[in-house]
C-alpha cells in the first residue's frame, strides 16, 4: 500500500473498483458494438440520408432528440456513432446524437428523478435534459461549420461514403458488409451475419481496450484519492461547479447512475450538481479515449474545453437565479 498525504493506494481496492466498472460497462459496450455490427451489415449507407430531413438544422435538432426513442449510454453511443458516420450520417447529426443520447433518454430522466426525490426532482430532471439537448445541438451546429478533414481521424475519413477506397481487400466473398450490400446487392444472410459478428467483435475489442485504460484511471482516483478534500470548495458557486465537473471527469460514471452520486453530494449547491450531471455524461476520462477513435485529438480537446467552459457559464448563470 502506498500512503501519502491525500493519496492512499491499495492494489486490492483498485482491482475491486476496476472490475466493478468493467462488469457494469461491458454489457452496454457490447450492446453498442452489436448494434454497430448490425448497422454495418444490414443497413445500406443511403438509408441514413433518406430518412433525414433535408434541412440540416432540423436534422441536427432531431438528432438531439433521437435518444428518446433510441436510448444509449455514453460508451455504446460512441460505437454506434462511429458506424453511422461511416454509413453516411452527417457528422453534425452524429455528434449531436452522441452527446445528447446519454442524457436525453427516458432511462436517465427516470433515474435523475428518482435520485433527486426531496431535492426538486422535476427541476433537476427538466434542467438536465434541457441543458443536455441545448448543448448537444449547439455543438452539432458548430461541427456543421467544420470540414470533416479537421474533425475526423484519417481512418474514419477514408471510410466515408464517396471517399472509401479498398478498405477490405479480400479474396473470395468479401466479408466487408458495406461492400456486400452496396456492391453485390443482396448477399447471403449467413455471410452478412458473419460480417456483423466480425464487425461487432472488432468494434468491441477496439473500445474495450480504451475502457480498460479509462476504468483503470477512474479506479485509481476512486480508491486512492481522498475525495473529502474537495468539500471545502462547496461554499463557492464557481469553485463548487468546477470542482464537481472535474470530479465527474475523473469518476467516469455511467449516465444512468451518476444522478445517485450527485444527489448524495449534499454540501454542494444545486447548480454544481447539475453541472456534474450534464458535463459527466458528455465528457469524462474514458470518453476522452473513446472520442479519439472517431475525432482528431485536437477536436476532442477543443470539445472538452468548450463543454467545460460552456456548462460552467450556464450553471453559474443559473446560480445567480438562485437555483
Amino acid at each position: 500500500m502506498i500512503n501519502a498525504h491525500f493519496f492512499t493506494f491499495s492494489f486490492t481496492d483498485f482491482a475491486y473498483s476496476f472490475l466493478s466498472i468493467l462488469f457494469e460497462g461491458i454489457p452496454f459496450l457490447l450492446l453498442g458494438s452489436l448494434l454497430s455490427g448490425i448497422v454495418d451489415a444490414f443497413i445500406p449507407a443511403k438509408v441514413m440520408t433518406r430518412f433525414l430531413p433535408k434541412n440540416s438544422g432540423i436534422a441536427i435538432l432531431m438528432s438531439g432528440l433521437l435518444g428518446a426513442i433510441f436510448p444509449m449510454c455514453e460508451c455504446g453511443s460512441v460505437m454506434v456513432v462511429r458506424r453511422l458516420i461511416k454509413k453516411g450520417l452527417p457528422i453534425s447529426c452524429a455528434t449531436t446524437y452522441m452527446l445528447a443520447a446519454p442524457i436525453v433518454n427516458p432511462v436517465v430522466a427516470l433515474s435523475t428523478f428518482a435520485a433527486f426525490r426531496g431535492q426538486s426532482p422535476w427541476v433537476m430532471m427538466s434542467l438536465r435534459l434541457t441543458l443536455g439537448f441545448v448543448i448537444s445541438v449547439t455543438v452539432g451546429f458548430v461541427v456543421r461549420q467544420i470540414s470533416p478533414e479537421n474533425l475526423l481521424q484519417k481512418k474514419i475519413l477514408d471510410s466515408l461514403p464517396g471517399r472509401r477506397r479498398t478498405a477490405f481487400r479480400m479474396g473470395t466473398p468479401s466479408l466487408d458488409p458495406t461492400n456486400l450490400i452496396e456492391e453485390t446487392g443482396a448477399p447471403h444472410f449467413r455471410i452478412r451475419l458473419l460480417g456483423a459478428a466480425r464487425s461487432a467483435a472488432s468494434d468491441f475489442l477496439d473500445v474495450a481496450f480504451l475502457l480498460v485504460i479509462g476504468a483503470a484511471l477512474a479506479s485509481l482516483f476512486n480508491t486512492a484519492v481522498d475525495q473529502t478534500r474537495i468539500l471545502p470548495l462547496a461554499s463557492s458557486p464557481m469553485l463548487s461547479t468546477m470542482s464537481l465537473m472535474v470530479l465527474a471527469f475523473f469518476l467516469a460514471l455511467c449516465s444512468t447512475s451518476d444522478a445517485f452520486i450527485a444527489a448524495s453530494l449534499v454540501s454542494f449547491p444545486f447548480v454544481a450538481k447539475l453541472a456534474f450531471l450534464v458535463f459527466g455524461a458528455m465528457f469524462d476520462l474514458k470518453l476522452y479515449f473513446l472520442y479519439g477513435l472517431i475525432y482528431k485529438r485536437r477536436f476532442v480537446i477543443g470539445l472538452l474545453i468548450g463543454l467545460f467552459v460552456g456548462i460552467s457559464l450556464i450553471c453559474l448563470r443559473l446560480s445567480v437565479m438562485n437555483l
Partner: protein, 291 residues
C-alpha cells in the same frame, strides 16, 4: 506475429473475457460487484462474447481476408508492432485484477470516500427536506413536526408503536433487526424515531475506529457500503456504537452488534448512537452491500 495469429488472438481475448465473466457470475462473486439488477447482463454478455468469438473464428475460416489493410478503422486490426501490447492491455489487467481483487473495499478507500454518518449524506434525502429537530435550551427532547421525507425506509414506517412492533423484523432474542441506513434515517425523521428509540436492536457491519468525540476510545463506527449500480459508486455509511470499553477487534472485521438505540445531539445535529450490550465478530453476510 502473423495475421492469422493476431486474428485468433482476438477470439482468445473474447473467450477469456467471457470465461472471467462466467466465473464471477457462477461463483457468486458478482454479488459484491454489481447491483442485482445488473448481474444478469454479465451472464448475457459472457454468452454473447462467446458467440462473437465463434462468429469471428468462422469468418476467419471462411475467407483469408482481414481488416488489416489500409482504410480499416479498427485500430487493433491496423496495429502491427503495437498489436501485442493492445492484447496484453486487454487481457493482463482484467486477469490480474480478478486474481487479486477481494470482494470489498479496505479502510483506506472507505476513508477516502468519506464515511456518511447522517441521512443528509445519503441520496434522495436533502438537508432542505428534513427538519432537524434541535433540543430546547433546558435539554428536553425536541418535538418537531414530522418532516416531509420523500424516501424513507418504507418497511419501518410504522405510525404507532404497536404497528411498528408488528411490522419490524426481529431476531430470536426479540431484538429488532435493522440496517445502518434505517438508523440514519430515523435520526433525522421524528416519525421514525419512536420505532427505535431505547429499543434493543441487532445490526451487522464492519468495524472501524471513530476518530471524533472518542477520547475514551470506546466508540467505533459500524460501516456498510451502500451501492447504487456497482462497487465503484458504493458509499460507506456508518452508525456510531458505544461499546463501553476499548475494543480489540481488528479493523474492518465483520461484527454483529446488539444494543439500545439512542439519538443524542452532537455537533448541532441529531445522530444515532447504539449503546452496545454485545459486540461479536461474525461472518460476512451473504450480501455484503446494501442497495
Amino acid at each position: 506475429m502473423t495475421n492469422s495469429f493476431s486474428r485468433w488472438l482476438s477470439c482468445a481475448t473474447l473467450v477469456a473475457w467471457s470465461a472471467i465473466l462466467m466465473h464471477f457470475y457462477f461463483s457468486g462473486r458478482i454479488a459484491s460487484f454489481l447491483h442485482p439488477m445488473f448481474r444478469p447482463f454479465v451472464l448475457i454478455s459472457a454468452g454473447v462474447m462467446l458467440l462473437l468469438a465463434i462468429g469471428l473464428a468462422l469468418s476467419f475460416s471462411s475467407t483469408d481476408g482481414g481488416c488489416d489493410e489500409e482504410g480499416c478503422a479498427h485500430s487493433f486490426g491496423q496495429m502491427t508492432a503495437g498489436r501485442i501490447i493492445t492484447f496484453l492491455i486487454l487481457l493482463l489487467p482484467i486477469c490480474a485484477a480478478s486474481a487479486v481483487s477481494t470482494d470489498g473495499f479496505g479502510a483506506s478507500t472507505m476513508m477516502n470516500r468519506g464515511v456518511v454518518t447522517d441521512a443528509s449524506g445519503l441520496n434522495s434525502v436533502s438537508k432542505s427536506s428534513v427538519d432537524f429537530p434541535m433540543p430546547s435550551g433546558d435539554g428536553t427532547a425536541p418535538s418537531a413536526p414530522a418532516p416531509a421525507v420523500a424516501s424513507s425506509p418504507v418497511v419501518y414506517a410504522g405510525t404507532t408503536e404497536n404497528a411498528a412492533n408488528d411490522y419490524l423484523p426481529k431476531s430470536k432474542s426479540g431484538a429488532i433487526i435493522v440496517q445502518v441506513p434505517d438508523l440514519l434515517y430515523a435520526a433525522q425523521d421524528s416519525s421514525l424515531r419512536p420505532d427505535f428509540q431505547d429499543k434493543t436492536i441487532e445490526l451487522i457491519g464492519q468495524w472501524m475506529p471513530d476518530q471524533v468525540n472518542n477520547s475514551k476510545g470506546s466508540r467505533f463506527k459500524l460501516v456498510r457500503m451502500l451501492m447504487v449500480c456497482c462497487a465503484a459508486d458504493a458509499r460507506p455509511v456508518a452508525v456510531l456504537v458505544e461499546d463501553g470499553k476499548k475494543s480489540k477487534i481488528p479493523e474492518m472485521s465483520w461484527v454483529s452488534v446488539t444494543g439500545r438505540v439512542t439519538f443524542p445531539t452532537e455537533g448541532g445535529r441529531m445522530i444515532a448512537v447504539v449503546k452496545a450490550d454485545q459486540v461479536v465478530v461474525t461472518d460476512p453476510p451473504e450480501e455484503t452491500m446494501l442497495y
